[in-house]
């Protein structure tokens, strides 16, 4: 199993290394200006030089992203359970949620700044919460409602209560959907937090740092901050993937249908 996992990772690592090396070599060979696209080695140097400032920004942005993710997902899952349980809720709330999802949510950043204050992380958390709300809501509703009809009939034949059906069938059925939604939501949460910061925030925030350094033509520093934002997104994603492996052992065994995992 472990050997298989490492073997799976090898091509990913190889591609990553090849891309970095190619980036370095090609930019060097073509003599591309640093302000257009710095070489990886220059970005790495910025990472080292600016480490203290960057880590402070990363911490601030991480709090915004995770805070928004937590608020948005709790509300989304609560609404999803209500819509799955009550048809009336489904008919009234889901269209509203769909309408909400088609809004360019980031456009509200100046508004949330006005509501909660530019310096307050709550402004960005609100943006992130609204961004992650929809994918989590839609996937959770789908997971709770697209249940095998045979399973529902089986529960009927046991005279199971609505609550037992929810606990034994609907929630386990929804878990893979919810975790998939969270994978999407983690990435969105970092985007929401960083872009939200472009519209204002405390000096140390990662987004503020990126716009500030870009204005001063210190593009390598901006790139270093972008690399950290990417790393944050990847780490959050991997945490969800790890939780998935823990919570869904019947999925995580990977070789579905191969019968080797026992």
């Amino acid at each position: 199993m472990t050997r298989g996992r490492l073997a799976d990772l090898a091509p990913v690592v190889a591609v990553f290394v090849i891309v970095i090396v190619a980036w370095e070599v090609v930019l060097g060979a073509l003599g591309v200006q640093q302000f257009l696209l710095p070489r990886p080695s220059v970005i790495a140097a910025s990472l080292v030089n600016e480490w203290g400032t960057l880590v402070e920004g990363l911490q601030y942005t991480t709090i915004e992203a995770i805070g928004g993710l937590a608020i948005g997902s709790v509300i989304a899952i609560a609404v999803a359970f209500a819509t799955a349980r009550w048809v009336l809720a489904r008919e009234t709330l889901v269209p509203v949620a769909i309408a909400a999802s088609s809004m360019p949510i980031i456009a509200f950043a100046p508004i949330t700044n006005n509501w909660f204050g530019t310096e307050s992380p709550v402004s960005r958390m609100t943006i992130v919460a609204v961004m992650v709300f929809f994918p989590i809501l839609v996937n959770t509703v789908r997971g709770l409602t697209t249940v095998d009809r045979g399973a529902l009939e089986l529960m009927d034949s046991y005279a199971a209560s609505e609550w037992q059906i929810l606990r034994q069938i609907r929630v386990p059925n929804a878990l893979p959907y919810i975790l998939t939604a969270f994978k999407v939501a983690t990435t969105l949460s970092v985007i929401g937090a960083v872009i939200g910061e472009y519209f204002g925030g405390p000096r140390q925030a990662l987004g503020i740092y990126i716009t500030g350094e870009a204005t001063l033509f210190r593009f390598a520093n901006a790139w270093a901050a972008i690399v950290l934002a990417c790393a944050l997104g990847i780490v959050l994603y991997l945490i969800v993937a790890g939780i998935e492996r823990l919570v869904l052992p019947w999925h995580a065994s990977g070789g579905r249908g191969e019968g080797g995992g026992r």
């Binding site: 009939e153 089986l154 005279a159 199971a160 034994q168 019947w250 019968g259």
Partner: protein, 276 residues
């Protein structure tokens, strides 16, 4: 007579579809005694699955009454007096084999030790004890169906309703599971109502075969199968076995009507699809 496990009186079932009502069953009368193995057989759209679901109160009759163990079918369902096996095994992916078998016991509030004890006993009964900790996807289709049977028997119901349980399996697996089902039936003494579209299967398993006709679904003939018990591999070689098969086949043919399936057939199939 009074102790019938299932008593069906004057039952009709009509489905409302987009193109008007379709009568799936009409004027059904049937009594099933304790310990019987009754097969329902008939062409597609004859309502045999619907009839089974009426007994299990998974769908209500339009007219007539269904009594199970002397109670209305609904009360019997609420009392958890029957086990159900569908064509698909309907195992929960997220539960191990053992925990799948425990599911009905869990719903019914049995304690942990009791659940484990019953589930182990049932898995031994279907000879899957060593797979208790496997997940469903690690088992073959036939093994999954045996788990479904173990699960249906876990709470010791006096009545077992089976809706084409081996319909999706290959011939060899099906014959093996037929033998196994006979053994389980003898060991548990459960009354079994079994829907199938296979004539040999119906004759091999049953004490009575209920032959149904379509449009509307009616009972056209009831064949008493007096083959010796226990049924074994040799049963399939007896002359009487083939005679019964011929009897059932002729009963089915008499009501087949002329020509290939027409549109009304398709509608009837769709109606059954609505039901099951």
């Amino acid at each position: 007579m009074t102790a019938a496990v299932v008593e069906i009186r004057g039952v009709s079932k009509t489905f409302t579809t987009g193109r008007g009502p379709i009568t799936a069953l009409e004027g059904i009368d049937l009594a099933i005694q304790p310990g019987e193995f009754v097969s329902l057989i008939g062409p597609s759209g004859c309502g045999k699955s619907t009839l089974l679901r009426l007994i299990g109160d998974l769908t209500p009759p339009t007219a007539g009454s269904v009594t199970v163990n002397g109670k209305p079918a609904r009360q019997a369902r609420l009392n958890r007096e029957y086990g159900m096996v569908f064509q698909a095994p309907v195992l929960m992916d997220w539960r191990t084999v053992q925990r799948n078998v425990e599911l009905p016991l869990e719903i019914m509030g049995a304690d942990k030790a009791e659940r484990a004890r019953r589930a182990s006993a049932m898995l031994d009964l279907v000879e899957l004890g060593e797979f208790a900790r496997a997940y469903p996807w690690q088992l073959s289709g036939g093994m999954q169906q045996r788990v479904a049977i173990a699960r249906a028997l876990a709470f010791d119901p006096k009545l077992l309703l089976m809706d084409e349980p081996f319909g999706a399996l290959d011939e060899m697996t099906r014959e093996r599971l037929n033998l196994e089902l006979m053994r389980v039936w003898r060991q548990t003494g459960t009354t079994i109502v079994f829907v199938t579209h296979s004539i040999p299967e119906a004759v091999f398993l049953s004490t009575r075969v209920v032959v149904m006709s379509a449009r509307p679904g009616r009972i056209s003939k009831i064949v008493d199968v007096d083959l010796p018990q226990p049924r074994t591999v040799q049963t399939r070689e007896l002359d009487r076995y083939f005679e019964h098969i011929t009897t059932v086949r002729e009963a089915l043919r008499r009501h087949e009507g002329a020509g290939p399936p027409d549109e009304r057939d398709l509608e009837a199939i769709r109606a059954e699809g609505v039901a099951g």
